[in-house]
């Protein structure tokens, strides 16, 4: 890959039960992700996706760009709330290429909201 080249984007629509499934797998049962009333009590319109769920999508998108290299580092800022049943698109560009690996810059969007921006990933042997 070359510097500035776009990586293959990842598009994924979390199912309506995505937060329940993620809670069961991860052990994060914070009710703002699961219970509409708890979400409203916290000032949210409805249950929100776990931030680490969205980060997992960014990790998957970055990891498959490695062409045999492994994801070694990923840093993200959580910027907006994500919701189930709406498509998320993760896109990215190559920032640096070296003999040992490559660095990517990625963003995760849901509609017009940038859930994660300026994510930085490093892939290496």
């Amino acid at each position: 890959m070359k510097v500035g080249e776009e990586i293959r984007p990842l598009r994924h629509t979390p199912g309506p039960d995505a937060t329940r499934r993620y809670a069961e797998a991860s052990g994060d049962h914070n009710p703002i992700h699961l219970d509409p009333e708890a979400a409203r009590a916290a000032g949210l319109p409805r249950p929100i996706l776990h931030g680490l769920y969205t980060m997992a999508l960014v990790a998957r998108c970055a990891g498959r760009a490695g062409d045999g290299k492994e994801l070694r580092r990923l840093a993200v800022d959580f910027r907006a709330l994500g919701f189930p049943a709406e498509e998320i698109e993760v896109s990215g560009v190559v920032e640096e290429v070296s003999a040992s690996g490559l660095s990517l810059r990625l963003v995760a969007r849901q509609g017009r909201r940038r859930l994660i921006r300026n994510a930085s990933a490093t892939l290496a042997e």
Binding site: H12, P14, A18, R21, Y22, E24, A25, S26, G27, D28, N30, I32, A42, G43, L44, G51, L52, Y53, M55, A56, L57, A59, R60, G63, E70, L71, R72, R73, L74, A75, V76, D77, F78
Partner: protein, 132 residues
């Protein structure tokens, strides 16, 4: 209240194929791949590291409401496989106050049963004064 730089007790997690597959399925990964080779996807780090971190986070709260997970950094080293026991320690690394918000940054370090480093993490949370 945890002090900055003070490591938590070790929290151990015994990794199973079922956990890896459940996590992979919940995050839309190719489940078959993880069933076959038993190696966890990188972000599985949140499964074995988060308990030590969130326990340390709770130790730093002063009765405030929900915290906001603002940023996350993870680094990966040795692979994690089903059958591994992963031990994680966490510590409060940095605290800052800006207006009504406290920002807390935690560090986690995880090793396998052979003593190999498997991952490191930086977990940043905001503690708003009046809830979300």
């Amino acid at each position: 209240m945890s002090a900055v730089g003070e490591w938590s007790e070790e929290h151990g997690v015994d990794v199973t194929t079922e956990q890896i597959v459940d996590y992979a399925r919940a995050t839309g990964e190719d489940v078959l791949r993880f069933e076959q080779d038993g190696v966890a996807p990188p972000m599985f780090a949140v499964i074995y590291a988060a308990p030590a971190v969130w326990r340390t986070v709770l130790g730093c709260l002063r009765g405030e409401g929900p915290v906001i997970h603002a940023a996350q950094e993870l680094e990966w080293f040795a692979p994690v496989r089903a059958g591994d026991r992963i031990a994680t320690r966490a510590r409060l690394d940095h605290e800052a106050v800006d207006g009504g918000k406290r920002t807390l940054r935690f560090r986690s370090v995880s090793h396998n049963g052979g003593g190999e480093l498997v991952s490191r993490g930086l977990w940043t949370v905001l503690v708003p004064e009046g809830g979300l």
